[in-house]
Symmetry: C2
Subunit: 439 residues, 2 copies
């Protein structure tokens, strides 16, 4: 054909996985979804495209530059850049139709036109949960969130991870007690501690006008370390009478108390006075989650408590608490770090049925029996040599092959080949079902 061939390729920053990786990716996504559902979160699926006027109601900042924004006809459209703004829009739009506290999860793709660099993607999955109160929301919800992180990451196959917890009110109140005016800026600088070190932090604090005394007090404050109980005792011992500090400390104590009630072991969560989360809408509890065997990945699940979800869409006060897992990035980083060690398969099929001659009906019958027993199977219908057919199973990583020739059809005893161990067995369909089920 005299057709011009276009070279098939995807856009830079847009991921797609080959089957083995896609299967592993889906398994992680399913585990996350199952955990979110287990805790009573309700699925929401908002459109990827929203009115720019609505999506960018908050406006300003780096966000706007990264947006995929365009027009179709007279309409100004934008692709969602996170799942929080669409949640705010959704909750405000359907306020009368929802029950509060509204526990929703959403798993979906979001879009950011970031500078193209390794491990940063322009299309990526976020997996979010949020609990939204109408007017108010009990602090115990802030303690339930870490139990969901714990359950999720345990199910994902990690045992050594730490959920870092802090409270913005503790930080703000403490800064206030030192007479610091630009508390938000101070917070942002302290939040960089792990990245830039104490000396650099002190330098930046000086630049924004903090006294050496304030700076030293901040250093002492951050150096309150130890067990969760020891840190709480350390904070109490500061005897700070600032109202916000006292409230924050009370919240933090309650969160620690209830996290334990929810069954999270102390080894998996730690008060960390350094973390603040950059986003300015957090107002209380904040979370970061570190995989201790892969600290370089950074936080794999972050979030916190906010006072008001949807102030751009409604006058109703909607406090909430939530977290997000950036799954595409996490998967990419875990893959790079060699996390997926098991021999991965490029298919979900457990048994390939290989007919030795043209008569396919018997093989189809066997396949029907296997499907009824919930064993994923397929028949190799194509022609070619036996080795080619076996190679199909090998290349995909199908663990078992059933070979069906005239003898097998006559006797009803089939040849089952274990592709991993290389062993062969003579078995009936029922025996094969039992063997494969228990393997």
């Amino acid at each position: 054909m005299d057709r011009q061939i276009v070279k098939p390729s995807t856009l830079p920053g847009f991921l797609e996985w080959l089957p083995a990786d896609q299967i592993a990716f889906n398994k992680m996504m399913d585990t996350i979804r199952k955990n979110y559902e287990r805790y009573g979160f309700i699925p929401v699926d908002t459109p990827v495209i929203e009115k720019s006027e609505v999506l960018l109601a908050k406006g300003g900042g780096d966000t706007e530059k990264q947006i995929y924004r365009f027009t179709k006809g007279d309409t100004d459209l934008s692709l969602r850049f996170d799942l929080t703004v669409p949640l705010a829009r959704f909750v405000s739009q359907h306020l009368g139709e929802l029950s509060f506290p509204f526990r929703r999860y959403q798993i979906g793709k979001v879009y950011r036109g970031e500078r193209n660099q390794k491990g940063r993607f322009r299309e990526f999955y976020q997996c979010d949960i949020d609990i939204i109160g109408n007017g108010k929301l009990n602090i115990i919800n802030d303690a339930e969130i870490p139990s969901i992180i714990y359950s999720t990451f345990t199910d994902l196959g990690f045992d050594s991870f730490t959920i870092h917890i802090n409270n913005r009110k503790v930080l703000n109140g403490f800064f206030d007690s030192l007479g610091i005016n630009n508390k938000m800026e101070t917070l942002r600088i302290v939040d960089k501690l792990d990245k830039i070190g104490m000396e650099a932090v002190k330098g930046e604090l000086k630049e924004i006008g903090l006294s050496d005394e304030a700076s030293t007090k901040i250093e002492e404050f951050i150096n309150i370390i130890g067990s969760n109980d020891e840190i709480i005792e350390g904070l109490k011992a500061l005897n700070i009478e600032n109202e916000e500090f006292v409230l924050g400390l009370e919240e933090l104590s309650q969160v620690v108390y209830y996290i334990r009630q929810f069954g999270v072991p102390d080894k998996n969560f730690a008060i960390d006075l350094k973390i603040a989360r950059g986003l300015d809408y957090y107002t209380g509890t904040v979370y970061e989650t570190i995989l201790n065997d892969y600290p370089g990945i950074g936080s794999v699940c972050s979030g916190g408590r906010y006072d008001n979800l949807a102030e751009y869409y409604t006058t109703q006060k909607l406090p909430g608490v939530g977290i997000s897992i950036g799954l595409s990035r996490l998967f990419f980083q875990l893959k790079e770090a060699g996390f997926f060690k098991e021999s991965t398969s490029s298919t979900l099929t457990k048994i390939l049925i290989v007919p030795m001659d043209e008569n396919m009906s018997y093989s189809i019958g066997v396949s029907n029996e296997l499907k009824k027993a919930d064993i994923i199977s397929e028949v190799y219908f194509e022609g070619g040599k036996f080795a080619k057919k076996l190679n199909y199973a090998n290349k995909l990583g199908i663990p078992y092959v059933i070979i069906i020739g005239e003898d097998e059809i006559n006797s009803g005893v089939l040849t089952l080949k274990d592709m991993v161990k290389g062993e062969q067995f003579k078995l009936t369909v029922v025996e094969i079902i039992n063997k494969v089920r228990n393997s």
Copy 2:
């Protein structure tokens, strides 16, 4: 706050569901996915955004007008309008890394800037499977596809549906035998029969230059009805020697033979000589699926065999066969038609735990036990009157409530309220788990 409120709203043609519908929608999507996986299809997840040059390589036609196409920087981007073109791109791009026949499924959103009208959406889910051969692909694959449709729609809760089957070669060969030159145009007109009736079809055939004799022969041809075997006999009795017709009839006979081998009952599939599928890339078997209790919806699952998937991206010949379920439209239409009769719930939660006082620890402990037993539960942490708490369960459709007061904590015997029947029981946690599991 002196903030300007933006009215929260979504774009016309962009669906989002409230929780009860979203849960029902997800259940359908999960059922489809499970069936696709059961037949050994491998998941693929391509980006929503592709290079316009690649996505529109075929170009032309109505498609291009409907595309969401825009630029970001210097890059010309388009949102996918189906999952077939991305599959063609994916397979050509990763040709050496895939095993053939390549059985892939993809479930995802696609975008078409259609005229806004009821039941037509600009963002909607497609659920596709395709089997792609390298060079050739056995006709038995064409017979397996209806067995997947059968399994899927049975699992979705339908029993009365008919998979209509035809073969383009039969139609083309027949038209050829009548000396018709513009076979494609004839095909398109015949395909409209169900919509416009025989008289209008004959009128249109006359307009494109067909003789009255040819038109009458076509009418007689279409009137070959009866059981699947009778139709095949009727076609054979025509004694047409045209090579394409003979090949098509042989394919159709084989497909019918093997559909039965795959266990699809005759009541669920029917040769239908009227159907052709408008898209010009089908070259053999074609499918349409009609829900007999909802004929107004039209075909809910369509597809067919094509000679060459990816001629715009590779010179490799890749024949295939596949189907697509337009899930968003199907769900919308079923909802409109009153299909979802059961009382739908707005949550996945099975038990709401209502603490009667401020001490939440005991309730959290009960919730932990229920989660371990895989029963989705949540604790109502918020304050307020008892009636308000019960109303939360009622409004969401949570079937059970556990009430925990001082007596319950002291005795370990809890009050379980069946919210549907209104009955109350005094039970231990273990007894509750057994009761709810078996309900």
